[in-house]
Symmetry: C2
Subunit: 206 residues, 2 copies
């Protein structure tokens, strides 16, 4: 298809498509004449991925570039590719000095080991969780994460992972992971708040 | 206790306590001399609540003031008080023009009715969820929220609501709701990401 059709089908404006081509976020089309190139389904899928990373993941272009490079590096195992995309979506949490932090971080590492989870030592979620635990302690809140661990495990293994096409094109798996992590995460948060409201209404009604 | 002790016990600096007193976020102590007042446990609890709303909920002082006014209005039923705190924590989502939005919003309303949830028509989470559904559709993602609804319900009714002291002081219930909504939400999100990483490693390992 021509660039105009690619634009119409993807909903991405032509100047934006040209910008992605210049920045190497989008692979070039097949040159059919000096000023004319043909695009195909792979371009459409890539534009969808870029839009997902930009609009839903709210990632900066530099992070998107790293993910696209990982998608294109066919020698990179899919698991590491998904890790790259996943980590790019995480907030960076700086470890805090002091014993409190170290205790919380040790707890996180123990929890992961107890659970038998296969999570790399560098996963940003380890520090995210440690920081949350430190805040809970500072506010005198009980830190019992067991029920949350069980429910997170159930959500992911019974529902979320089934939506990722592990055997399809690499773009599609990354897109599904990003969309799943961000959008279903938001949907879950909204549902949780409504369940909280409903449940507290129920417990407080006469 | 004197203001210096209140400061030491709460970790809030004396000038900040004085600012809260002036802004009526903190109720006055008992005046024992012209320049001396006595504070008690209720002041400590209130400072903890303010800190939680500020640091964990990241609410602006104007929103905190509204919540404190609701806490102090003893004629307000606890359920409405919790609603006030809960809604203050939500992001405001503007409804979008067009049919897509209306279809999504109708689906949200139907889902809540089907679930038998007691959620006010003005709950911000309704629009939050509608917006997420619109984005999912725009990206061609399947919108099957049933499993998420079930898991959110389970998390809230079996775990979260049991941590709210419905029969204690009003400050304590609000504080538990705010801390629970924000901090346990963050903890759950970090756990979900780690479970995702682990589960995808498992499915992709030879």
């Amino acid at each position: 298809m021509r660039i105009s059709e690619l634009s119409a089908k993807s909903g991405v404006a032509i100047p934006t498509i040209k910008y992605y081509l210049r920045e190497c976020l989008l692979h070039p089309g097949e040159q059919t004449a000096a000023t004319r190139a043909e695009y195909d389904e792979s371009h459409l899928r890539r534009l969808r991925l870029i839009r997902a990373l930009l609009e839903v993941g709210r990632l900066p272009v530099a992070s998107i570039k790293k993910i696209i490079e990982a998608v294109e590096d066919e020698s990179l195992p899919l698991h590491l590719l998904l890790g790259t995309a996943h980590y790019a979506l995480s907030a960076t949490v700086e470890p805090e000095p002091g014993e409190e932090w170290q205790i919380a971080r040790d707890e996180v590492d123990r929890l992961i080991a107890d659970q038998g989870w296969d999570v790399t030592p560098a996963a940003p979620a380890r520090d995210e969780l440690a920081q949350t635990i430190v805040r809970m302690r500072q506010l005198g809140l009980p830190v019992d994460l067991k029920p949350y661990v069980g429910i997170a495990q159930k959500l992911v293994s019974e529902v979320e992972m089934n939506t990722i096409p592990f055997d399809g094109p690499r773009d599609a798996a990354v897109e599904a992971l990003v969309l799943g992590t961000v959008l279903y995460g938001k949907a879950f948060e909204a549902l949780r708040r409504m369940a909280q409201e409903s449940e507290s209404a129920r417990r407080l009604s006469p």
